[in-house]
Amino acid sequence: MALAGFKRHAALPRLDHDEQARQAFVRQFRGHLSARVMPGNYRAYERRAAPRFLASEGRPPRDHRDVRRVMEQDGYYQFWSALQRRSQELMWDAVIDPVERQHGALNAYANRQHPRGSLRLDPDLALPRYQTTVDIHLQPGGYHSESTAGDAAAGAFYDQALYIYSNGATGACNDAMGELLLKFYREYFRAALPSRLLEMGCGIGNSLLPWAAAFPGCETHGIDIGAPVLRYGHARAAALDATVHFSQQNAERTDFAAGSFDLVISHLLLHETSRTAMPRIMAECHRLLRPGGVMLHLEIPRGDTPVEQFFYNWEVFNNSETFAQFLTGIDLAPFAVAAGFDASRTRVVRYARPRTAGQHLYGETFFWNILVATR
């Protein structure tokens, strides 16, 4: 049994009746919050909170901090916020159950010799503080914790959770973001055929697999700091007939040779790094690309208006996505330019794909930001 619309593969745990029922509840609960409860926050803001702010301060809210001050007093927002937080906690609980039940078998599969691709781990890799201080997006143990030798559980948690988190928007194989960035790449760099590509912060490789499939002659690499997600990703790629070379590295500084990639990409990596790490990652992208090579970073929007910015920052304060607040209201392009990319060959593009109301999460619309630069 599997969650409806989610494609099963050999690296995933099987779900028994109650595990499937639990995951289905969480998914629908989140869909309900997104479609039926969240929009009320915008109404509460417009009709109650903003007028209250204007009455007491003599001016409208100027930025997301003003919005926060007044919204946190609003009963509707408080209740939605508590429920949204709860839904995220329930989600992790619901995906851990089947992994815990089949932990031995899952790890045995992950640690087999797989015929495709490769896995290179580094037990001495120092874990960055921005990954260990709190558990990002409330995933217990984050991307890096292991409860036993050869653990791949963190990957199995993430693979299941992402689909539930997004209420199916990430696609049957959690590859929708990879497909979206690939579509963008093909539109903007029509005839390009990379022979060597790298995804930074690849996690379980869910966004990388569409790239590997699209460019069969390309040597495809993925790096992450977390050993258990990479172990899982390597097994998962084999289960899905993809050839990817996974290695445990920090995107701030890799051991790949300078100018050795045609394409360096990431999907939702940047907002989980830090103020020091992000410029280093940009510099590393620049170092790794050959002249004419392309850098692409897919990121979630952080909102245009103060109220949108407040809601997109909800995850900063309620979902342990601490760094994301530092990307609010800033342009990503100067970071690429500071790393050596030419300003005339660097831009941030807004890219939309329609979602249902049950998938919007924090806004009344949804689009992606893509930082694109050519070396």
């Binding site: 429920l83 329930l90 120092a126 709190v134 914790s145």
Partner: protein, 139 residues
Amino acid sequence: MADKRKKSTRRNPATNKAAAPGAGTNKPRIARVAKGKRPQYFSDPAIDKLLWMTVSLMEELSVTRDRLDAVERLLERKKTLRRGEVENYAPDAASAAERDSRRAAFIDRVMRVVQAELEEISREDMPRSSEEVVAAVAS
């Protein structure tokens, strides 16, 4: 700045202590609560706990209804259950033990917020302030 401590591959996330080498006889303990301070949403922390439990109960009820639905449909299909049999049902020792175990897991799940607070105050590697959490990403 990168954490200068070497990463141990056998760190128990519940205590954040490395597992002793050869400590493989017990089932590995998987962390259930995320590291980090849980925000307070309401004026009284007891309300936050009540909401946690209430939503968990919603979930449990939903799962149980799905299961019951499966059972009823299968029974109808097989024409095996008569009226009154459920009312007079008495579990044998093995079934009673399984029920106890399931009930314990249910209670654990609904009460986890209380456990969460215990873990938060017991763990030794908690960031000491929100400033420390921000400093980890602002440098």
